[in-house]
Symmetry: C2
Subunit: 292 residues, 2 copies
Amino acid sequence: MSRELCPPRLSINQGTIKYADLATALRVTAEAGIEAIGPWREPVAEVGLDTAAKMIADSGLRVSTYCRSFTAGERAAVLDDNRRAIEETAVLAAAGAAGSTPVLVLVAGGLPEGSRDIAGARERVRDGVGALAEDARAAGVTLAIEPLHPMFASDRCVVTTLAEALDIASDFDPHVVGVTVDTFHIWWDPQVLDSIARAGRERRIATYQVCDWRTPLPADVLLSRHYPGEGVIDFASLTRAVMDTGYDRDIEVEIFNQDVWDDAPANVVSRTVESFRKTVSPHLTTPVDSVG
Amino acid sequence: MSRELCPPRLSINQGTIKYADLATALRVTAEAGIEAIGPWREPVAEVGLDTAAKMIADSGLRVSTYCRSFTAGERAAVLDDNRRAIEETAVLAAAGAAGSTPVLVLVAGGLPEGSRDIAGARERVRDGVGALAEDARAAGVTLAIEPLHPMFASDRCVVTTLAEALDIASDFDPHVVGVTVDTFHIWWDPQVLDSIARAGRERRIATYQVCDWRTPLPADVLLSRHYPGEGVIDFASLTRAVMDTGYDRDIEVEIFNQDVWDDAPANVVSRTVESFRKTVSPHLTTPVDSVG
């Protein structure tokens, strides 16, 4: 696919091509004319941080986010690991092309084993973010709290709405703690447009991510994400709401789906380009490529 | 099980013993010493309304709710069928023992085929409720709008939070339009306790229903409901919040779960009694049996 055919501001989240190693992910993304990528920690760890940074620099791609940090687990170990993730985010974003954004996506985690105290778990998220904020500030990294769909509230993420993520973020500097706006997780929320507008006013939208929701859900609901346009999400209203806040960064497509993962990475990237062009691009303003 | 061992205010929602016909459902419920039941339309239709009313009267049980009405579908047919459901609710609640409550649970329905307009679908719910309100008032029946978990937003119910259900109900008299508070659907909501308090202030809690949430979810997430105490829901805080509003009606246990459905109805009822006694009864005030 020629470079001029690729829609501006599209970024491939590496979770969409989960089985591709970093070299493959960078290659198929660049070959499709896409200008940005959101790498994951595991494929970076496979080659080592220094090598990963060099590979990203050589690719010419922007880095849009790094996935991911978390707050659940044994506190000291969680903080140590997240501090490494913050440092990795800074290194990789610095290695990326101009317009890269040092954003570390934060998925809080679910309830501790045997716990029924979701309010307490939410307080521990706030505490965990607080414990990492100074490290993030020092590294110039934004922690992007991601609300996950409420069907993951018990086992993956006790933060379930954008409003809740903003409430946690409100204790901190917007450059240090923001939010992830992912259509899949929040499309159903009757307050979603108001919450996006609030996130904009509070300068919290660190990253906008897109994929679609469709039923029936697969047996593993984690893998129920689809190419934009294949489900019921109204990308027009959500994307315009994000654009109306002045959001001017890359937009990631992040799909967890066994069929997508089983497809060849180059095919997946090609289909992602087509779906993004049809469903997201028509609603964009202020393209990032003007800063590239 | 002797009658004095059964916890007050427990009602068996017939969906919990889905494969039991009405006669069996009434018999196993009464034999367990339980004083109330929430019948479903299908088993009532099997015997006919008049016979069902006589069977319920003979059982000595209270009727706590009738399940269910809806707003999705071809408008004239939906209204006709719901008017029949309203009439059935009035007849069955009148046939039930003293303390019966003429409550028709309303599950709105999902998005129309091919639609991405959830805001529009929500407006049609308001419209549908409005079209039925006069019939409900005339019959002395309360329509209890039930918010369903957001994982059902596209295919079963576009009303996803208690606040949203209350916003729709607010156009109507609380005797005519209330809400269903079901722990399974709303436990994750960061605003749940505030919304329950609001529902109480606005005199909207037509029925309180309980079952538990546990992961991993089964392949069909509709069937992911469990006996209270087997999952992560904090029945103490939710039940106390409902009691603090002055709620004095029966409390239904409604479980959709293939393993529960495959069990013998008498066993299911016995396990329901035990789970209710342990997880819900300790948090109750103002027992209904004082009016029975």
